[in-house]
């Protein structure tokens, strides 16, 4: 089985670098467009996680022919192309080649990837500890156990945390907005909590660490916009679209002095969010068919041409 592991890891490394390059060079041009939050987030995540899900699915699918052929009584797949030395098959695992290229190429691709993910996770853990300290330093509120107060005079409404997500409102915000606007803000922030957005955002930040900055920024911007638009819609179901749009402009008008966190982008996300509320794009439920079809096509490619290609390339490299 170590021989199969050698081939699978080498194939994973080669497909990872290919998927990463495809995402880096193609994704930026595929992002703009007026979309509903769901498809916007799925599209951005498909690109962002491409170096992870594409090789994982292709390699998993590429071991299917041998297994399915035997399980469904379709005959021994490996016998059909016995010319290869390296079968991608759990039933006929190849012998270990001990070729220096096999492990060095695998290590050259996968090790930096795991180190980068590890560093991003470490950094994220430190953020969790800081967020916990921020929550501990806040005061209880009368809005419920999920809402706490900050002693800050600038108007702030934040959702922080990972497993136990907490909404933090500043004294300055409570002083500055009317009860109706506060209701909208709370509905929006509670949507973040319900959707477990902070946990998703943490996972996204891990995948983003694998991308070059120029690509990462565009993808993360799309995800943030999709997240905020989804929470705006959630709040709009309770308060009405115009009230949410009004609350957004009112809070922006308060002019949160460029807060402690500098998150500027060239385009105005406020404008996109308000326009999305006022003039929502034509929604169709069929958009889910696109990612499902993509997964099926990739699986078919993995079980078909990619399976053969991996066997040929690995045989070529290791002999």
């Amino acid at each position: 089985m170590i021989g199969l592991l050698e081939v699978v890891l080498l194939a994973t490394a080669l497909l990872t670098i290919t998927a990463w390059a495809a995402a880096v060079f193609i994704a930026p041009a595929r992002l703009p467009g007026k979309l509903a939050p769901g498809p916007r987030a799925v599209r951005a995540r498909l690109w962002l996680y491409a170096p992870i899900w594409l090789p994982a699915l292709l390699v998993s699918a590429s071991v299917l022919p041998g297994v399915l052929g035997t399980a469904l009584g379709l005959g021994d797949h490996c016998a059909a192309h016995a010319g290869h030395h390296h079968h991608l098959c759990v039933l006929h695992p190849p012998h270990i080649s001990n070729h220096p290229l096999a492990w060095s190429l695998t290590a050259a691709v996968l090790l930096p990837m795991f180190v980068t993910l590890g560093r991003a996770a470490w950094s994220g853990m430190h953020q969790f500890r800081l967020a916990r300290a921020l929550v501990r330093s806040s005061r209880a509120s009368s809005f419920g156990p999920d809402v706490r107060l900050l002693d800050r005079q600038e108007p702030l409404a934040l959702t922080v945390g990972f497993r136990r997500t907490v909404i933090l409102l500043s004294d300055g915000l409570l002083d500055a907005v009317c009860p109706q606007t506060l209701d909208v803000i709370l509905a929006h922030e509670r949507a973040h909590v319900q959707r477990r957005d902070t946990a998703w955002a943490f996972l996204d930040s891990l995948a983003a660490a694998l991308m070059p900055r120029t690509v990462r920024v565009g993808l993360m911007r799309e995800l943030v916009l999709a997240r905020e638009q989804a929470c705006d819609l959630w709040a709009a179901e309770r308060a009405g679209k115009l009230r949410v749009a009004q609350a957004l402009t009112k809070v922006a008008r308060l002019g949160l002095s460029q807060p402690a966190f500098g998150m500027s982008v060239a385009a105005s996300s406020l404008e996109t969010r308000v326009l999305h509320l006022l003039e929502p794009p034509q929604a169709t439920r069929w958009w889910v068919a696109a990612p499902i079809a993509l997964v099926l096509v990739v699986t078919a490619l993995g079980a078909g041409p990619v399976h053969s290609m991996i066997e040929r390339v690995v045989t070529l490299l290791l002999h």
């Binding site: 002693d151 934040l158 803000i185 957005d197 922006a252 500098g262 982008v265």
Partner: protein, 134 residues
């Protein structure tokens, strides 16, 4: 991880936070007095409380002065200042176009566009309200 180097470690533990709360509430106290208020309830020793005080002092969150043979500690920053630094530390990794998922703001004013954009949006909303749109 450069943000960790730029900021003192503000990720306070439960005991450190409680000690700080006590000093915010009661003003300057000796380790023994802090232990009476915090340590006795938790069943921990004066040494443990002293260590927490030293750590907080090391992080720049407490000032201390020697009185007789012992130190008296007081909070060096207010709760609001600590919160400002914590928010800054959380967001610092995500400079410029990137932002932290752990800290989602209702409106990121940095992304709000200029005065013209805001006026245009307000006018659109006002027009819709006038039309009686929900």
């Amino acid at each position: 991880m450069s943000h960790i180097l730029r900021f003192p470690d503000l990720a306070l533990g439960e005991l450190e936070q409680e000690v700080l709360e006590t000093l915010w509430h009661d003003g300057a106290l000796s380790p023994g007095e802090v232990h009476e208020r915090v340590g006795a309830v938790r069943g921990i020793s004066v040494n443990t409380v002293s260590s927490a005080l030293k750590r907080l002092h090391g992080k720049g969150l407490l000032d201390r002065e020697k009185v007789s043979h012992s130190y008296v500690y007081r909070a060096a920053i207010t709760r609001a200042e600590l919160q400002r630094q914590l928010i800054g530390a959380i967001a610092s990794k995500f400079a410029d176009e990137e932002r932290s998922g752990l800290l989602a703001a209702f409106v990121d004013v940095a992304e709000a566009g200029g005065e013209d954009t805001l006026r245009k949006l307000e006018a659109m909303i006002a027009a819709r309200l006038k039309e009686g749109d929900a």
